[in-house]
Symmetry: C2
DNA sequence: CGCAATATTGACCATCATCAATTGGCGTGG
DNA sequence: CCACGCCAATTGATGATGGTCAATATTGCG
């Protein structure tokens, strides 16, 4: 873990863009966000940002890279709860839940901005509407958890994977990180399995079938969606739960 | 749906008690809570409180009874996301997410207090700490979703059911609705299956085996835990995720 | 008493897990 | 520059958890 250059303009903008994708942000609020003091660090792929049981004193903003939240279980089992893109605060909840009940880690080399809770509280105190928007953000997090529960509980493996590829397409779109249904999605098949309650072997077979059916092609680094409507139909994907206020069809 | 008597003292107290189980509440805040204007209605078992797609203008506080949140899927599939006990606001998120992305319904005859969003906002504006506590409450909701994801994704059917029985024991305990590991839990086996991603048939078999192994006995209306430690061990139950600030071992 | 919803049980089956082996990609060091 | 090593991807064979279908028993209630 090493210190690094301050966030660039485009890195800062990603947070604003993310927030604008789920609500309104005033000019004053933008200014305040851009003045948030943060300590930037670069973490390599696979490093923990926070670990279950810890009591963090800072929030972490993703500037570049890719992050997940997860919990480990006995016998090497793992459940991944969420994926996070630049502009996200993957551990925003630590503002109000002192003890981490799960862990947060990078899935790719990432630049992260660490912001003291005190600054976040100050920001929210001065800009209650921004506080509401951050609350809203954590509520959308929860909505995504629910949608994943639906998938894991009631959808087939094919549907779960199709659904995930659709969700990530819209979420990357919201922060300007897609190009024509293609996006960088640097996860292994094992990680995808741990997110969807499947084994690596099964994930592998299903990705093959999606490829053979010309729905989507993916590898370790990226996803290319060939048939958006087909994938959406297969995965029963309805983006309402993302509560995006801007357009939702990339 | 009919109007009903105003909330009794003990019904009002349940909300305070619930909030106190997850954080501190000042005397002023208690007073303000007790003065919240609410319209009380009694709903029968199985009635919807809010439906996916709606845009509610009120929050719903459970005074007595039992409520769940769920989503329906094609071909009659259903996923239940959460169960809610007296003192809970099952749709608190509607304060910041205008459109319901899922439905809320009673699982038993229930007395509900409906509170206009405007009053809730006013309350939060006047008592920011109470606002934080409500935010915290929705974050605990999300923590429970995550824990359910772990269960559905990575635990066996036996473990999932054991885990659920443990969780509900602690949550009822927090609002004073357990007696020596026994509590009212008025759900059908079908509903339990829809919460855990299982079929009725399988739930039935597992409840039988829990009974045979002398871990817990349950029926349509209530649960009796015979071997708390055994059940906890089987379900890998660790109550950290409930973020209860008071005792957590009934 | 009789319906309707729920619980229960049996027989059979499918999705997905497990186990095991092989291949492919890629960075590192000799 | 190539061999080695490591991790991820891939594929095959086999098996088990849990699903499906269907019939019967219970229970609650009007």
């Amino acid at each position: 873990m090493r210190s690094a250059a301050p966030p660039s303009r485009s890195e800062r903008d990603r947070l604003v863009r993310k927030l604008e994708s789920i609500g309104d942000v005033s000019a004053d609020e933008k200014t305040a966000i851009n003045e948030l003091p943060m300590q930037v660090r670069t973490l390599a792929d696979g490093e923990d940002i926070a670990v279950e049981g810890e009591r963090p004193s800072q929030c972490c903003l993703i500037l570049t890279g890719f992050v997940c939240r997860y919990k480990l279980l006995p016998e090497g089992r793992r459940q991944i709860f969420s994926f996070h893109t630049p502009g996200d605060f993957p551990d925003l909840q630590s503002l109000h839940l002192k003890t981490m009940d799960h862990s947060v880690a990078t899935l790719a080399e990432s630049r992260l901005g660490f912001i003291e809770h005190t600054y976040m509280r100050e920001l929210i105190r001065c800009f209650p509407d921004l506080g509401s928007l951050l609350w809203r953000d954590t509520l959308i997090d929860a909505a995504i958890f629910r949608e994943w529960m639906v998938g894991i509980g009631r959808r087939t493996a094919h549907q779960r994977i199709a659904h995930l590829l659709c969700e990530m397409a819209l979420r990357f779109e919201a922060v300007g990180l897609t190009h024509d249904h293609n996006y960088q999605f640097p996860i292994t098949q094992a990680e995808m399995g741990d997110a969807l309650g499947l084994t690596v072997v099964h994930v592998n077979r299903i990705l093959r079938s999606l490829r053979e059916e010309q729905l989507a092609i993916s590898n370790r680094t990226s996803v290319r969606i060939l048939d958006w409507e087909g994938l959406k139909g297969l995965g029963e994907f309805d983006p309402t739960y993302l509560h995006q206020t801007k357009g939702t069809s990339p």
